[in-house]
Every structure is written in C-alpha cells, then in structure tokens.
Symmetry: C2
Subunit: 826 residues, 2 copies
C-alpha cells in the first residue's frame, strides 16, 4: 500500500485531529449521528450510571443510592480502588453496546488497562450478567450495596479484570497481554469481533509493542476481527505515558507502520465525544466488514489487509473531581487510584465525594428499588450478545474435544531395549500431523513456536499444513500460507499469548520451544496458572484445554550454542504453581513421548510441560510397555535391573529425562561388568509429580508405592534432567530422602560435545558409576582400581573431544547390550 493511499484512508481522521477542536466537525453526517440526538442522550445516561456504579465500588459500603446524606460509616475504612481508567472504559463499553445492538455483533471485550475492574464490574452488573452469575448480588439497591462493598474487600474482587469478572479472558493483573489475547481469541473465530482496549501504560510493555504485528497473522477469510482501541489517558501511576505525549502525526505514522489504518477520537466534552466515537465505530466496522467480505467472496489471495484501529484520547479520571486540595486531579495521574482520599474521616473530602457521585444524577438513572431505569437498560444487548455473557469469554462452553489419532500407530518398533535409535520429536511430528489433519475441518488446533518447528524436527506437520503467512510469499518460499495451522514468530511472548487467547476461547494447541528460552514467558505462565487455579473454583467457568509445552533442543544437547542456551529451570518455576494445575513429564524415548503428548492433548485446565530431545537416541520401550509405564508415571525397569523387581536391591539407579536415562543404563553396564553380583534396581520416572507426597499433588505416589520403588534405606543415585534441587524438594517428605543423591544440571556448561556436557555436570555414566561406588562403601573399597579406571576414562574422554570435536567412539557407539548376555532379568 503506498503512502498516498494511506493518506486518503486516514484523511478524515487527520482532519479530525488537526482542526483544533478535537475533530468534532467531522461528525453529524446523519440525523442518528447528531451529537444532540436522543440516542446519545440516553447513552450518556447509561455512561453516567456506569460511572456512578464504578465510584460506588471504590468508596461505599452502604447508602449505595445516596438516598440519604453521605455519612462516614457509609464509606469503606480502606480505600483501595482505581478510578483513572474507569470512565474511559465505561465510555467505550456503552458505545460498543450500541454497535452490537445495531449490527447484531458477536463481540468480545478485552480490557487491557490496569485496574479497569470497576468498569467491568459496573457494566456487567448494569447489563444483568453479573447478577445472573452471582445471584446474591441482585439488580437492586441491596445488590448494589453488596456490589460496592465486595470491591477490593476481603473475600471480594480485585481492582482489575479477573476470573471472577464476567466477560473477561484474563487481561487483568500483569500488563502487556491484552492485545495478544485478543488475536488468540480471533483466530479461527470468523464471526467474532474482539474489541481490545489497550491502555497507554500497557502500551509501553515489550509484549504489547510486538503484538501490534499480530495483524500480519490474521486471515480475514477464516479468522475474526480484532479492533484495537488504544486508550490514551496520558498517565500511569505517577508519570505521563510515552504515547500520551506523542503527537498525532507520530502516532499515525507508528500505526501505519505497524500495518493499521488509525482513527482518532479525542476530546473531553462528552456531547461531541459521543458523536465522534459513534461515527468512528461505524466507520471502522464498515472497514472491517469490507475487508472480510472481500476476502470471503474472492478466491485466491487478497493480501494482507490494513485493519482499522482507534486512538482514543480522553482525560484520566474523566468526569471526576477536577481538583482536590488545590491540586489537579482530572486529566492527571492523581486521578489514577483514589482521587479523594480519606473520605471516611475528612468531612470536606467526603463532601467532594458526595457531590461527585450526585453529579451523575443517580435519581435519573435508578428507580426507587435501585434498578436501572428500563429505557436506559434497553441500550444493552440481550442474552449472549451482552459482552459479559459472551460464550467466547467462557471458552470451556465452546470447547470440543480434539479428534486424536491412535498414537500407537506412530510408535517406533523396539525389538529390544536400546535395539534402535530414533529422534523423539521427529516421531511426534507424524502424530501431530495427523492431529492437524483430523481437526482440519474444526479449525480448533494450532501449533505455536518461535521459528523452531522444523529445527525441533516436527517437520512432518508440514505434510498436512503450513505456517500462517499473510505478507508476501515468494516463489521459492516453502510451507507458507494464510491458512496454516503452525504459527511461528520470533517472540515467545506472542506464541504464548496467542495460545492463551486461543485456549481461553475454547480451542487446543501446543507450544514447542527451546527449553532455555521458555523462561521468557515465565511471568505469563504464572498468570495463566493463577487464572486456571481461580477459574477452577468458579462453578460457572467451564474447563478449557490445557496449556501444553514441548520443550526440546534441551540443556544436554546445546553442542554449539553453549551456556546461554542451557537452562532446565522452567520445571522449577512451574512446580511452584498450584499443584493440581501442573504436570511435568520427562519421557525417556519416542514411544513414551507419544503417550505423554496424546495424554496431554486430552486434558483440561492444566499446564503440561513435556521435555524431550530431538536428537537420535536409543529407544527403550515398545508401545505397550510405554503405555503401562507412562500410566503409572514411574516404575521399575526390571529388564534393566540386575535383580527381580520384588527383591530388595543393594542400590537404586533412578532417572528422569532422555539423556539421564541413557547415561544411567550405561552406568549399570559399567557396574555390572565390575560387580556382577551387585543387585541394582533401575527406576525410571516419566511423571515427575509422582515423586511428591500425595498430600501435595494429586499424582503423588502413596508412601507405600514410593517406598516400593525407591526402598526405605538403599542408596538412590538419581540422574535428573534439570537442576537437582527439584528432586530433593519433591521427595523431602519421603522416608528414604536422605539417601537420594541427585545428579543434574549445575550451571556448568559451554560449547561442547553431548557427552562432554554430561561429564561437566556429572550426570555421565562414569560419574554415576563413581557415585554408586561412593554410596556403597564396601564396593568402593573393593573397587579402588575400578574407580581409578573410571577417572582415567574421564581424562581420556576430555583429551579426545578437545582434539577431535566429537565423542570417543566407545561413547558415541555405545548401545545397551544386556539382552545379549548381561544380567538383565527381562
């Protein structure tokens, strides 16, 4: 699109913002749009009602309708609300209500600005959804009183949109994710319009700044629309905002650069603002329908559309006190939280509050019972068209189970343990390809990843689909298409946020990521975990599909990337979250990976973290064995042990993770060769949460089961994929915990060969064997020579890899040979 076209498209708004009167001249093109129309007068009353109910939540615990003079005991003792952004949100909400009614829209409202809670609660209460969900908070004066009291009150609701808020899909709390959730919601929901309000505070965050590019992934043929409304009220807690102080030319240039057609709505006088907002919303909806109609009635590509967005400038704390104690409040950051403090004890402040609340004219808004007057209430949409009642905001209502292929049909044939190698994620790719195929018509499954689907060897999915790509496609490009099911962008934030939005509106997905860099989204996962925990306690919120991670390119195989790419700590982070929400899986080979992935895609309301390598690795279990093992979560590998499972061993060699499992088995080989009579039990852990006490986690083994695996008093050498502390933490309540010696990642790494990396962190076969010798003192006495041999091996290894750049042949070519004459009991 050339610059000239952009100028024409934006012309009306350019005038609107440059004619000195905040563009009020460019409206009034029809009777309905006159700024003095009865419709706008009624909308203004609705807006005042919302503002009144918002202020009431912040301040009052009694006398909600001000039917008597405001006294100290009516005011909450602790004032903890947030006013600043609220009137602007109320303004937007009432205007979107008009749009929904007039055009019969399915609209989802996303409330990005921090602490917009009062507005969301006020509007959903006014439209009736709040009382339907929470019948104890009725649509009358008693309900209003409860509504007011519960806000920022013990056992009540927080000052931002939360799971408890009808119509919300988790835009409150930590800022930055409103718009990315909005796009996630719009993908594959062609009938949906997501109205997404972005605050100018939030607009300063990194994730939000990148999210604007998401329109380059939105397909007008098969996806819904996102209407971003950048709400510039100019201030954060105690500061101007960067965008609030940018001029309209720069803002216009910025959003044109991002790919949008910006429209400006600016002012502080309500009457012309109503007219301007309504006219602008009509215009942008026309634009959206034009884009969609063109795309949906044309065959072939219609290119990347230039979607509209709105820049709304309105004063912070709009319609609130202009000044308090001689200091500017409205239109300044002092309006951010509680504009009039201490209103319980300070008579003058309480008077300001009362005048402020009465300025909305509550008697013109609510009847004697405290009900919104019917002619005002009639402005709201009805039924599920109300934004608070949108099923899209309670995605579990819309969720359909995925059609899943039989994972066993992708299983690797494993004639004997270690008898062949395979690339786990490559095998999984074929399974995922069929997941894509089976759900192609439903369009309810997407794969996310930061440009790593191929690098992580899930390529087979490209036999069934492509990467989403709306920008230009060159003849030599491969696997790019507007309809793709794979979403790749070099931003873990966008992958995470899109997927969250997609899941929250009732769909399914998987995020594959380099293990080390998933920490980029720690805080987003944190917020999602909190959302799931709280949602699960709300009977009206239906379960949504689980948030599934495949972490690959993991810590033990960062051969060229080195230390910066080596971090297995995401599991530790996730393990802090509410137990019932979290699952950590470490499948040791391809068939177990298949079972785990299939299982995760069938679950709901969870965060499933699967860690599995992409490199060729030995395979241990047949499909049938994998199924039994994974269902148990952990178990004795009798075939790898040197004594029957029901006999007490001298030593337990435990492992979790693909590389640790291989090294453990190789260590068993070494130990057996040295001490053929040693009674070694091998325990493999797939589901890490089995280690935790049952009182701590629903997957936790009973003490009996745990002790049956790990014994009560035998040494356990535990080779673990991640930081060793997590194993200690999960097992510290177990009888045998003092004897569990964990080898894991210890923040030692560099550019190296695969085995050398293990050696650095002492989870290699030689160190594991030395550990076994150490904790079996009678053996270490006998095996002084063996220890010396192992240490010599370590030196040889180091010299070899530093010279040749690859592992010693005996390491590289090692295979599990116990079948061929070892002491295995299989």
């Amino acid at each position: 699109m050339s610059g000239a076209v952009i100028v024409i498209l934006s012309d009306i708004n350019r005038r609107a913002s440059s004619e000195g009167d905040n563009g009020r001249q460019n409206v009034g093109r029809s009777e309905a749009m006159s700024s003095r129309s009865p419709q706008f007068a009624m909308m203004d009353r609705y807006w005042r009602a919302a503002n009144y109910v918002s202020v009431g939540q912040i301040y009052l615990m009694d006398n909600p309708l001000l039917r008597e003079p405001l006294r100290a005991e009516h005011v909450k003792p602790r004032l903890l609300g947030h006013w600043g952004t609220t009137p602007g949100l109320n303004f937007i909400y009432v205007h979107l209500n008009r749009l929904i009614r007039e055009r019969d829209l399915d609209m989802l409202f996303i409330c990005g600005p921090g602490h917009g809670g009062p507005a969301m609660v006020a509007n959903t209460w006014l439209e009736g959804t709040y009382s339907e969900i929470y019948p104890d908070i009725g649509r009358d004066s008693e309900g209003m009183k409860e509504l007011f009291k519960q806000f920022s009150f013990p056992g009540g609701v927080p000052s931002h949109a939360a799971p408890e808020t009808p119509g919300s899909i988790h835009e409150g709390g930590e800022l930055g994710y409103a718009l990315v959730h909005g796009f996630g919601a719009a993908f594959d929901n062609p009938d949906l319009v997501v109205a997404c309000v972005v605050g100018d505070g939030e607009a300063e965050t990194g994730p939000l700044a990148a999210t604007w590019h998401s329109s380059k992934f939105l397909n007008p043929r098969t996806d819904g629309a996102v209407l971003p409304i950048l709400h510039l009220n100019g201030y954060k807690i105690a500061n101007p905002t960067l965008m609030g102080r940018m001029n309209d030319d720069d803002l216009r240039s910025l959003f044109i650069g991002y790919g949008y057609e910006p429209f400006f709505v600016e002012g502080s006088d309500p009457e012309p603002m109503h007219a301007l907002m309504a006219a602008t919303l009509d215009q942008v909806m026309e634009r959206i329908r034009d884009i969609q109609t063109t795309a949906r009635t044309t065959t072939g590509s219609t290119g990347l559309p230039r979607w509209p967005m709105i820049v709304l400038r309105s004063p912070k704390g709009w319609t609130g006190p202009k000044e308090v104690d001689g200091k500017k409040v409205e239109g300044f950051w002092r309006a951010h939280q509680v504009p009039v403090s201490n209103a319980r004890d300070d008579d003058a402040h309480r008077q300001i509050l009362e005048e402020w609340m009465r300025s909305y004219g509550p008697d013109e808004l609510f009847d004697t019972e405290g009900r919104l007057l019917p002619e005002i209430a009639a402005l709201a949409p009805e039924g599920t068209k109300r934004m608070g009642a949108s099923p899209y905001a309670n995605g579990g209502l819309l969720k359909k189970d995925l059609a899943l292929p039989d994972w066993k049909s992708f299983a690797v044939d494993v004639p004997a343990p270690g008898g062949r190698t395979a690339e786990g994620t490559h095998i999984l790719g074929a399974y995922l390809r069929d997941v894509v195929r089976l759900n192609a018509a439903s369009r309810n499954f997407r794969l996310m990843g930061p440009d790593e689907t191929s690098s992580n060897r899930l390529d087979a999915v490209f036999e069934a689909t492509d990467r989403v790509w709306m920008e230009g496609i060159e003849p030599y490009d491969v696997h790019l298409a507007p309809e793709g099911r794979v979403m790749e962008v070099l931003s873990e934030h966008l992958c995470q946020g899109w997927l969250e939005g997609y899941l929250l509106t009732g769909r399914h997905g998987l995020f594959s990521c380099y293990e080390a860099f998933i920490h980029i989204v720690d805080s987003m996962v944190n917020q999602h975990a909190k959302w799931l925990k709280t949602s699960a306690e709300l009977s009206w919120r239906e379960p949504i599909a689980s948030l599934n991670y495949l972490l690959t390119s993991h810590v033990w195989r960062q051969d060229h990337n080195g230390f910066s790419h080596q971090d297995p700590g995401f599991s530790d982070f996730v393990a802090n979250k509410k137990a019932d929400t979290v699952r950590l899986y470490f499948p040791p080979d391809a068939n177990t990976l298949l079972w785990v992935a299939d299982h995760c895609l069938r679950t709901w309301n969870r965060i499933n973290v699967i860690t599995a390598g992409k490199q060729p690795a030995p395979q241990w279990l047949t499909a049938q064995e994998a199924e039994g093992h994974c269902k148990a979560g952990a178990g004795i590998w009798e075939w790898a042990s040197t004594c029957p499972a029901d006999e007490e061993p001298d030593l337990v060699m435990a492992c979790a993770g693909d590389v640790p499992t291989m090294e453990t088995l190789a260590a068993v080989d070494l130990l057996v060769a040295d001490s053929p009579g040693l009674r070694i039990r091998v325990v493999n852990v797939v589901d890490l949460m089995t280690l935790q006490a049952r009182s701590e986690h629903p997957h936790g083994f009973s003490d009996e089961t745990f002790d049956a695996l790990f014994t009560k008093d035998r040494p356990v050498i535990f080779a673990y994929h991640g930081y060793p502390y997590l194993i200690h933490r999960l097992t510290y309540r177990r009888a045998n915990h003092d004897n569990i010696h964990v080898h894991g990642f210890r923040e030692e790494g560099t550019t190296t060969t695969p085995f050398d990396m293990a050696v650095m962190n002492q989870i290699d076969r030689f160190h594991l064997t030395l550990a076994a010798l150490r904790w079996l003192p009678q053996l270490s006495q006998r095996s002084a020579q063996f220890s010396a041999t192992l240490k010599k091996k370590l030196e040889e290894h180091k010299a070899y890899v530093y010279e040749h750049g690859e592992d010693m042949p005996e390491i590289r070519n090692w295979t599990w040979r116990r079948e061929a004459g070892g002491a295995g009991v299989r």
Copy 2:
C-alpha cells in the same frame, strides 16, 4: 515535527529505496565516495578477509589458508556454525572501522543478530584484539588454525557473541536485548557512539519492539548516541521475517512513528553497496553531531531530537553459495546455519566449500605466514579505538566505586524492639537520595523502576533528582527533567536491559520493582547471571557493579490487587544460578534494609535481591544491632527468645522476611502467655544463603554454626516470606532438616486484608502457634484448650474482616510488649 519535515528529512532515502536500483544513484557525491574508489576496493578486501575467516571457523580444523587442496580431514566432523547473518555483520564492521578512523570516534559495537559469533571473532582477530587477549591464538596461520578449530568446538567458543568475545557486552544467546543494552551503555557516556545492529529475527521480540522508544530517554546533552542499524536479511531459521517482508514505506512510517529518521541501505552488489553504506554512515554521523552540538551549546531545552537510524537490507548468507543441490541458499533461510552440509564426507559439497572460500582470494588477503596484508590491516582503528578493545565493552575497567553516605545517619531510632513503626522503603529513599547527591557529578548511578518509585515510597530521591523525561513537559508535571537520575517506563524489560547496559559499561544502579512482576525479566536475569559466571572466569574481564533489586509491594501486602500480584518466586528462580553470583536478602525492618542496601551497592559481579515491604511496620533493631545481625547474616534474637542463647531451647521459631518476622514474634507472645516456662529461641535470617551448606555457597554457615542456631534435633517452625520449598532445599543437607517445618506462600491468595492474607497461607501468629503446639506433642496435649482458643480466633478474625474490611483491632494494634514484662532475656 510535522509530516512534511519528515518527508524532507527522509527524502534522499525515499528516493534511494524507490528508484528500483536499491538507491545506488544517490551516492558518488565526492571522489572519496565514488563506488570505485581505491578506499572502497581496500575495504572490500578487508570484508573478504573477514568473510573468509568466518567461513573458516564454521568448517575447518586444518589447512586454514587453503595452501593445499581441501581434504576431508581438514573439515570438522561436526558442522555447527552459523553463516547467514555473518557477511552482513562483517560488512557493517568494516564500514564502522572507516568511520572510527576518519572521525576518531569512541564506538561500541553491539551485535544483536543471533549467531553472529563468527563475524565478531573474525573482526576482532583481524584487528588484533583477539590475539592480544588470547595470545595462544596468534595473528598467523597457526593462530588462524586454532581460531578456526575452537569455534563451536568442545572447550571453544559458541556461535554467538559471548563473554569470551572481545568487544561484546552480552548481546549473544537469547535475542531481544541488543538495543536496550545499547541505550544503557550510552546513558551518561556523552563521548560514546553505540553502533547497535538489530537482526530482523530479534526485531520480532517484545523487548526489542518496546526498546525503540528508548530514544525518548536519551539526553543529547549528557548522554552518548545510539545508532541502530536494523539489518534485514529477510529470514530466520526457516521462515521469512516480518520486517524483511514489509515494504520500505511501512518501515519508514514505523520508524518515523517510533521517533527516528530512517535511512535505507539496500542491495546485493558489493561495489555500490560500499559506496551507499559509506555515504549513509557519513550522513547519519553528521546528523548525530548536529543533534549533540545543538543540545550542548544551547541553554534550556532543545526538545526530543529525531535521531537517525539505518535500515540495511542485504542478502542472508551474502557472498556464499547461491545454490546447493539445486536449492536456493544465498538470500534464503537455507543460508542460516551451515549452507553446505556434510562437507567432510561429500566430495561435491567439499568442492563447493573450497570454491566458496577461494572466491574471497585468500592469497590476496594474507601473506605467506597467514598475516593480514599490512595495507588491508591499516584500515582498522588502533589501540582502544578498535571496537574489540573498547574499554566500554569491559566496563569494569571504567568502573569507579560509588561515594556512599553513612547509612547509620538515616537509621530509625529504635528505643526498644517493636517500640515504633516505620516504612522501610521510605527510610531507604532518604539514603538513596544522598547516594544520588554524592554521585551527581560523576553521573554514574541510576534508579530504574516501572513507574513505581513513588508507589514504592522511595519519593525522597525526588528531593535530589527527577525522572528522565525528554518528551514535552506540562506546567503541572512534577519531577520530570531531561537530566533525571530516575528512569521509569512501564516495561520491566527496559528497566532491566537499560540497567544491564549501564552496569556492563562500568556504572551502578538499583532496580525497584513490584515483587510479583519481576518474573517478567526472569530470562534476562538468567542470561546476566550466566554472563557474570563466565566473565568471572576470564581474567581480562574486570568485575562490574552488582545488579541490585529492591523487590517491594510484596506478596503479603497486595490488599487490593489480589492473587495476580502475589508471587514471591523470583528468589527460587535466582537461587538456581551459580551460587557465588547470587545473594538473597530479607531485611526484617528499616535499619537492616539500610545495611543491606548499602552493602549491595559496594559489591561487584553479583545479583543481589532485596525483598522488603513499603508499609508501616514495627521496627526491631537499632542501627548497631542491625549491623551485627546483617553481617552475621542470621542470628538468635535473644531479646525475643525465652531462654538464653547459649541454652538449648524446646523450640526454635525462625523467620525470614518482614511480615513473617512480625508474625513469629506475635506467635511467641501467644505461646509465652499459654506456656510461660516454654524455652523458645527466635532466629531471624537476613541473608538466606547462610542456610545453605558452605560447600554449596560461599555465604553458607558451617554445620557447627547452623546447628548452634537451629539445634540438631529441636522442632523449628520457620516462617518464610516465599514459597516454603526454598527453605527445605537450602537446608536439606543440615542435620536438623527433618525437623524444619516451613510456613510460606502456598499459592493461596485473593483480595484481602494484610493479616487475612497471612492466615490464608498459615504464616499468621495463630497458625504458627498451632504449629508449635503440634510439634511439641506434650504441649499440644496440655493445650487442647489453647488450640481451641486459637482456632476460634481464626474464625472470629474471618468474620470480622469480611464484615469490616480491616483487621481486628487486636491484630491491627498489636505491638511487641515483651519489654514491659514478658519473659524476654534482653
């Protein structure tokens, strides 16, 4: 700035990019700038040398100068390099070298693109810095052989810029932070020009997208310049890039919107590209000097300048193989990593490699000894003007200790333990104000925070300085100025990244943040910790000032924000990092907070995390007591105990954190009232790392010291600020670990009063007391009635707060009264 002016400013480049020939027509304005000038021919040879040395690193382990035909054994067995971005980086580097020489610049090079390691290593080797730092890698054929071999090789260097790379300030590994580090480096370095290359992959990340706004914080009078070079080579690992596929109009609009004046350099033919790049660099340097000169010779504000930036479009894998096996490589993503695979075993591939390397004409570049020919080498700057030798890239060389005030002069007077209340961060604010004042002339200290300096009650700093603000300032604004020392933006990523860049170039700072949201920068902290760990192992890297956090508005006081704002897990995350790098401090009151903050500002190469509340809270220790207690890291509070410190107690009540400490003391009050003879020892922990075994952490107590505090066998009720597991993890090697019962945050929270929050998580006085009764069975028998009383209190409490919205008076007004007749031994 109006749109018209922008068009004029950008006019030359608009033509350059729109005239169909990649703008080559707009150069050649002087003889020196002719595309055929001898200077450009020589620069082209330098570039070819850098490309040759880059390819050699990826492929060769012998025959570096190709003085004999390339044979299989010359090629590395594992090819793990990255070619795609490298030739473009080499191109930029040689052009910046010219600029430095001609203008005598102090320039820092920041290499944002992923896997630009070969280019950085090649250029610093060519200019001589590499061999000065690593004398075993000389500037001859033997050195070249070693240089080649070490790349992506065991014990060698990774494929991205790393601590080992001369001239780097930690732009490698995880992507997104190049530009924010660049701005951090430029603040308060008025003579520095930071040339910052941003890859088009990295440009998709959230942090990078927000960072462009950093120019709104750059003061041309007192800061240096940042020259962003957005390097569009069009592809990531297996995908086009979003910006690579944007047209120049949209790109221009985007960067004008961000506040820059963009210049375009586009093409693939080296000859005209040299001329265009040189002319453009001259032009942007003139622009930078104009901006700086204007600002530095004018009094009063000169406003927010429009800084120049460059968009460089050049092919991915430029000058590499056009095609391999019939597939497009140059100018496509197949050039990303190793364009010609399997070159050791595949003769045809090895031939392509050899032809490719010989295409650079090594014999025209290096003499028979493998030394760069002197006439080529002469193009590089000299001494510390070489970008690999810039002292700014080894900030410890420039670091000066802060001038620090006497912290005791800010201490709270504490006549008796609990005898008064104070707001810890408010007290600290006064200390920080004087830190600002004492270092005002040095301009080497900044405070960062996401709009929370006031909210976190550090307001006193505004008596000494302001917030940095370069955009417009309104008459009613407060504490905004271009020269401010406080940096606020609603992006934890920017705060973190600016501070990292500031520290890495030899300065000091403190980042104050809401505790819950510091997780936003987990992955950045992770990378910084890895940088510090590796840097500390390099003798040539001088220590830098520590990265200091003040985490406040913490989990126990999110009264209105609720669950989304409640997460104390950053400590867990940080505790996974290399022990010697990390310190976790939980000062229980204001005087201990002062000591800890003062201490942290004196340290280097560490990550110090201070967690402390901002709310009014009881004060426990005098300045002198605080000093002794903090120096020890943890200790017995004999005055709060009911038996002398040297006598064995029945029970240890331990605490870490301000709220847990208060609740522990209140629990002691309750226990004493019920069981006056009970021998209770109170242990307070300030430095959490003292809990860890000395073998694990340098601050760890010896077992003797630990046992002397916590006993070997008495029950320990440990009230901890964060997730309880961390205490278990840190103490699991201690003799008494089975008896340590930790109460901490358990992912249970909502909107509540302060005390109710503690109750939910059972770290309140009632639950702590109940725990003590439980673990002293003889007591719990005797005290069935007492337990019932406590449980009734909990019920009363709940009813009270749900009705009144504030804590029961007996909780709210509780003070430590042991002085007035308790059993305390002080």
